[in-house]
Symmetry: C2
Subunit: 497 residues, 2 copies
């Protein structure tokens, strides 16, 4: 493990401010304490630290100049898009510069001939589809936060979404990037042509969680909007029956755009929050969405109905239009937030298992829940084995948080034991950095460290995220200190300015 970087002296950080103002303009640098405090966490709010200084660049050149200055001065920087991340990847540092891309929101080009769009990193995910829709095109990756999350953040996290099963992750849709390296060079990776020689560092950059620099311009693939979309909602008595239906659909060679599953507790939460009106009494629901040429979609929908019925579905609904489709999805997309209606506090877990292990892992989670008395609601991308267990607890009850964290950690153990992964799409950030030695051996981690150091020799790019460090995880590599929700000490509360 690399050493933790030494913390920047507040006086030195203060001397940077005029130089940052020279780069980003007066209104592009935030030093006011109450304004800085609004950036103290991303979507994972139990990690918080007030940033030492916040910059809001408007151009790629400004981003590069800020990073160059940080590199020259040995000051850490943390990139932030819309702040919707769920692994504290954009957790600020009191001793560093928070670089926020929210002013870089220009859609540079919608190029229908080459079926791509060129955008700045602060553009919201859904805005690409909005700009492409008049031409009959759309941008495929669709995280639940797509109305607000930024494309730059999607690249940092290699974001997925409900439709990854058929369409893949962000990495499958980015054709080219301009990035500002941690030393402040602007470099181009990939482009509109389908293949480029040399190392494909684009794949490594995507999902690197801000540790290799900041994307300053993004070229994404646009897909032609499908001729037809059909959304089915199938209700089952049990999660097992729903899981069997998923297996039979995949085995039959049908490739839906999405297969989502929610269990009884998740349904209860969604009903309480958004009255999505799912079939009463369901132990599990499946949302199966099919898209493509109309003739295919109709044939596949008939097949999916047959297979769901064969696996015990007691009710199957089909959305007959956009409004009904939106209503079916509303329950699913609001599920995380909805859990707040039925529990004072909860942990959103994110793990992956090979699809074939899904049934067994769900059984194990149910057993864990029964044994511990901790309720677990399951919402997941069933088609690709990406689980989002929601571990519920009452934070007013002493020790409940710790017991929930234990169950949440045990769920990750299950994922690892079945050959899966500690995160599907929420990333590692600060939150799971100490879990990395559970998946990777020292040689693997050392290879990643060397790679990181090659592109960030000064160690200024989002330090202490993604990879374990002694300060975060204790001195003995492989020994995991705690699990969440164990907030870091919020060191940044002191006023710098």
């Amino acid at each position: 493990m690399p050493d933790a970087p030494t913390r920047t002296d507040p006086d030195r950080l203060r001397t940077l401010v005029p130089r940052l103002r020279a780069i980003c303009g007066e209104d592009g640098v935030v030093t006011d304490a109450s304004r800085r405090r609004t950036y103290e966490s991303d979507g994972l709010t139990y990690h918080a630290e007030v940033p030492g200084v916040v910059v809001l660049p408007r151009t790629a050149e400004q981003v590069a100049a800020v990073l160059r200055l940080c590199s020259e001065e040995g000051v850490p920087f943390v990139p932030r898009g819309a702040g919707t991340g769920l692994s504290a990847g954009a957790l600020p540092r009191a001793d560093g510069v928070l670089v926020v891309t929210s002013r870089m929101r220009r859609i540079v080009e919608i190029d229908i001939d080459d079926e791509c769009a060129v955008v700045e990193p602060g553009v919201a995910n859904l805005d690409i589809t909005r700009a492409a829709a008049p031409h009959g095109y759309y941008y495929a990756p669709d995280p639940s936060s797509q109305q607000v999350c930024s494309v730059g953040g999607n690249i940092a996290e290699n974001s997925g979404g409900a439709h990854c099963l058929k369409y893949g992750f962000t990495v499958n849709h980015v054709l080219g990037l301009q990035i500002a390296t941690p030393q402040g060079e602007l470099v181009r990776l990939g482009g509109k042509a389908p293949e480029a020689p040399g190392y494909d560092l684009m794949g490594a950059f995507i999902g690197s969680e801000g540790t290799l620099g900041i994307a300053t311009e993004v070229t994404v693939r646009l897909l032609r909007a499908p001729e037809k979309v059909t959304t089915l909602l199938a209700a089952f008595d049990t999660v097992d029956a729903g899981g069997a239906a998923v297996s039979s659909v995949i085995s039959a060679g049908v490739l839906p755009a999405a297969i989502e599953m929610m269990d009884a507790l998740a349904i209860e939460a969604a009903e309480a929050a958004v009255a999505c009106d799912y079939p009463p009494g369901a132990g599990a629901v499946l949302i199966v969405e099919l898209d493509g040429p109309a003739s295919d979609v109709d044939a596949d929908a008939a097949e999916v109905r047959r297979l769901c019925t064969g696996s015990g579905a007691f009710e199957i609904r089909e959305a007959s239009g956009a409004a009904e489709r939106a209503r079916i999805w509303k329950g699913r997309k609001s599920a995380f937030a909805a859990v707040g209606r039925i529990s004072p506090a909860y942990i959103v877990q994110d793990g992956v298992v090979p699809r074939t292990a899904l049934g067994e892992v769900l059984g194990d989670i149910a057993r864990l829940s029964a044994e511990s008395g901790i309720r677990v609601a399951n919402v997941f991308h069933a088609g690709d084995g990406n689980l989002h267990p929601l571990v519920l607890f009452d934070d007013a009850e002493p020790g409940a948080g710790d017991r929930a964290a234990e169950v949440s950690g045990a769920i990750l153990d299950l994922c690892i034991r079945h050959g899966g992964s500690i995160t599907g799409e929420h990333g590692v950030g600060v939150d799971k950095a100490c879990q990395m030695p559970r998946m990777f051996d020292p040689a693997d981690l050392e290879t990643m460290d060397r790679f990181r150091a090659a592109l960030d020799p000064g160690g200024t790019a989002n330090p202490e995220k993604l990879l374990p460090t002694p300060r975060l995880c204790g001195e003995r590599p492989g020994v995991v200190k705690g699990a969440h929700p164990h907030p870091l000490v919020a060191e940044g509360k002191a006023e710098l300015f």
Copy 2:
């Protein structure tokens, strides 16, 4: 540019032999001069150098141990699969160890539940499909050499094939790798689960041309064989008319599995070699292959016929069965070799342009050819803008090779000027290393160098391939010395053992 590594003293290389024998066994180390000579080049035979010693490991552990020994001793190694590469990426070194994976041919697992196969790197590309076919599955990437080329080599080159348009390159089909790093560690990247945290070094490894180590085990995605395949052959008077048909097919939203084009000269060569019986008098033929559910394929085939006719096709044939399909493809797949029937010598070029620039670039190539009096036959993956111009010359005529090389180089200039790339699928190797500064600026190349050095700090992994070095390209970065076919001095002809 990094310095060229100093050459290993032959005596020191000789002292390695007993240690290599201890690792790979007596029969796993080749020192005999005439046997070594059979490895002197890959598919690009005008670069040749006899390897100092050849090893034939049988296991991942043996590969790692050989690489570790090379690293400890500072001896370069060159990886080689089946030796079918077309950029001299497997060009041996007289001062180094050639690591050949041809004995690692085990298909470890065909896992139909998880739709993947686990294989050793020496397995031939087509053997994966042969093993998966009884289950109704296949492996999609299909370079023309697929009967013999190895999966490990496909990974080194990120190989494409005729069906990349719809199915993508090798990188889109690899789920996981075990690699031996240049320092001799065995590291796992990716796996059967769809996403893993940490840096996605798999994407960077795929296409790294042996400069980051050797893949010792490969997990590839298997696809379900399509319900129906239809292959159309459309004949046009001119390349322009064929190009217009390609544009109209893509614009109509039809996504064929393959769209291949051959011009009159390429057709002439194919006829001379394999009597493929294409429509007489064609100035260009298109092969359009459609696959998927039968109802789609039939609808798309009708649409493609209509669009080709609208663009001036004077004859359209449809393969009515596997034998006819094979015959249509035979002309295309044999085209490179076939050119030998109509010209004593030729250069196979490999470049990419954005699809929308195809018509213009082909016009420019015709003009280049007319002005220089050098014949150019065009065979290309029309759907994704990957050109394979074959530049013909008579090597008995003084200066003809140089003039052909000039035309070949000018074609790459065209590709670069149109925002394309100097290689689509054949790789950089030795052959195009000196062209890299034409595409990448010093900051880009330095980033790649740092990345390479992070994973290969000793510089022993396939040195002087992929990235330019002073020895290969002259002392001044950015200045390109010559173009091919300028064989390297064959320094390895001296007998070491």
